[in-house]
């Protein structure tokens, strides 16, 4: 009665349950998976960096006594009216269409209470957001939906969108479920169609043309508005250098963890670089051109806390921007909607079918009943609280490093926990004075 020991059932790492499920889904439907959000895969991030803090050779600042400034001015290069922000964190561009009117209003309210700016998106400017945003950045996108000179003039800054971190090289997409009469009207499109936005601008190609486009926008707005150029984290050194050459006042750099309202999952997960990998090359480009701090750098893509903010600033950014985190602060993916997430075949934290317009939290929807679940005043209060906490956290870390302004943080204040993070951030691996690629080693 010899019994051969049974073979333990072994799952393949390559063909995991998740991978196989996607193959079956593709085979069933014949179309790629579309979703919202940014890259979900694990990539080197700010978690892999630590601040060293002050000790014998560095002098800390007293937490409750000594000032640590947080103000930042964006657009000092050419604009007659630069934007002054109390805190170095802004709200990234998200469209009315992708988000409900209430959500846009809540973002405007929260940002205004916290002393910072918010940003329109692909679909034009709404009264809700203009009315409730003290400082509003107006995006200039390939689709030009709703673009008009009056809104351009009543904006506080103009952001020319070349790309975004979730999909560098990709255009926009808003599926028919969300193209209601109001959204369609603003975009000059029929109701209920799948809206495709182009991936390239219709009337310029390359940085030489863009320089002339910026001239036109400045001439239309009396040279008052700061002009930002937003790029996805693709080739950050050259993209930043070319943005400066084209005449940008501000470069907005969005890494692959940055979200989108909707695009192909394959695009989100496989195109672009992690935010951490983008900052140093961009700062290097600014320094090589003698433009660091002259042209401001705003970094976005996976910023979640004051620690992330402090680390991005230490690597040379002038400010950070948040999108996904702001939506979470408003109530996106909140456990209180778990039973409804289950009905949609998902769970709290994983809900990303923002394009379907059935968001239980009432944020990424155009359904009036769902949208009514988000109280814009309460949402604004929550966002303000969250922005304040981020700022306090950032100040705590800056004071610990002896800095009287968060902009005084520097790479020298950091070390890295992993080889990858050390290489990307160009700061020493913890316990060493070395990072991969450091000159002289």
């Amino acid at each position: 009665m010899d019994k051969t020991p049974p073979t333990e059932p072994r799952q393949s790492w390559t063909f995991s349950r998740e991978v196989n499920a996607e193959i079956r889904r593709a085979a069933e439907t014949g179309i790629y998976d579309i979703r919202g959000g940014g890259a979900k895969r694990r990539v080197p991030h700010f978690d892999d960096l630590l601040f060293l803090g002050a000790s014998m050779s560095r002098y800390p600042l007293e937490g409750y006594r000594e000032k640590c400034g947080t103000g930042v001015t964006l657009g000092t290069r050419f604009a007659k009216k630069p934007i002054e922000l109390k805190i170095p964190v802004t709200i990234a561009g998200m469209s009315f269409g992708a988000l409900s009117g209430n959500a846009k209003e809540a973002l405007g309210r929260g940002a205004t209470l916290a002393g910072t700016s918010t940003t329109t998106g692909d679909g034009g400017m709404t009264e809700e957001e203009r009315g409730h945003s003290e400082k509003l950045v107006y995006q200039y996108l390939p689709s030009r939906y709703g673009m008009n000179p009056d809104d351009l003039r009543r904006a506080d800054a103009i952001e020319i969108v070349v790309g975004q971190g979730a999909k560098p090289g990709g255009g926009g997409m808003l599926l028919g479920q969300k193209i209601t009469e109001r959204v369609a009207g603003m975009r000059d499109l029929p109701v209920g169609i799948d809206q495709r936005s182009a991936c390239r601008h219709p009337d310029w190609t390359g940085p030489d043309d863009l320089e002339i486009k910026i001239l036109e926008l400045r001439e239309i707005t009396n040279w008052e508005k700061p002009i930002y150029i937003k790029v996805g984290g693709a080739r950050p050194y050259y993209d930043t250098a070319l943005a400066v050459k084209a005449g940008a006042d501000v470069v907005v750099l969005d890494g692959m963890q940055g979200g989108t309202a909707a695009t192909q999952d394959v695009f989100i997960e496989n195109v672009g670089q992690p935010t951490l990998a983008c900052i140093r090359p961009a700062v290097q480009a600014l320094q090589d051109l003698g433009m660091h701090r002259e042209v401001q750098l705003v970094v976005s893509g996976g910023i979640r806390s004051g620690a992330d903010m402090a680390k991005a600033l230490a690597l040379g950014a002038d400010a950070v921007a948040i999108g996904t985190a702001a939506l979470v602060a408003l109530g996106d993916n909140d456990p209180k909607w778990e039973s409804e997430y289950q009905k949609l075949g998902t769970t709290t934290g994983a809900y990303d079918d923002w394009h379907e317009g059935r968001d239980p939290a009432g944020i990424t929807t155009q359904d009036p009943a769902l949208a009514a679940r988000l109280d814009p005043v309460e949402g604004g209060r929550r966002l303000r609280n969250y922005l304040n906490v981020m700022t306090l956290e950032c100040q705590t870390l800056a004071r610990a490093c002896g800095k009287s302004h968060v902009h005084n943080l520097e790479p020298e204040d950091l070390c890295a926990l992993t080889m990858e993070a050390a290489a990307m951030a160009r700061v020493p691996l913890a316990g060493t004075d070395w990072w991969p690629g450091k000159p002289g080693f």
């Binding site: 169609i193 219709p202 009337d203 310029w204 036109e216 001439e219 009396n222």
Partner: protein, 227 residues
Amino acid sequence: MTVLDMAQLSLREINETLQGAAKAQANAAYEIANPRGAHAVAVGLDGPLAVTVKGSTGYYCAGMNKEAAITVEGSAGPGVAENMMSGTVTIEGDASQYAGATGHGGLLNIKGNASSRCGISMKGIDIVVHGSIGHMSAFMAQKGNLVVLGDAGEALGDSLYEARIFVRGAVKSLGADCVEKEMRPEHLALLADLLAKAGAEAKPEEFRRYGSARTLYNFNIDHADAY
């Protein structure tokens, strides 16, 4: 008639003067001398004003125009009258690529030829081209009318939405989802009106109408090859 000489004044001075006069609803007439291919001439005007540019212009002449009547007595570079909201822009010569791009309203009247991507992403503007147009014209055109007295290049009206295209001459090829459509009486009337406004010597009956087959409005995997 006030003459603004670009050989003497900066672009900023000229645009500031024109923008101020338009805003003041002065209904005045201005002439711009020596444009010599300058970019962003007479952009962002918001009010009734007559502007005549005595020569050829560079990029984005008359960009985002509202209400003003702007005439270029020469040829216009890329993106003429881009995102125009209302008013009239007349080009006596030829227009380069992306003429009338994303325009929301008004009339762009091109007496010569227009290059590629004429009327790209147009959103309500009327464009009349007395000559021929280049490839990929009216790409993703959403609203408005594109009238061409001459010929159209390759891939006319690719991925277009609800814009109407009228061509008198030959169309080299139609883009994805663009089809020839029946010319009904209302189209003939519309065309007659546009031709009259543009001062074009042509009969509506000589044109063919093109528009969207609307098969790409909602994604269908069986149409994937069209994209």
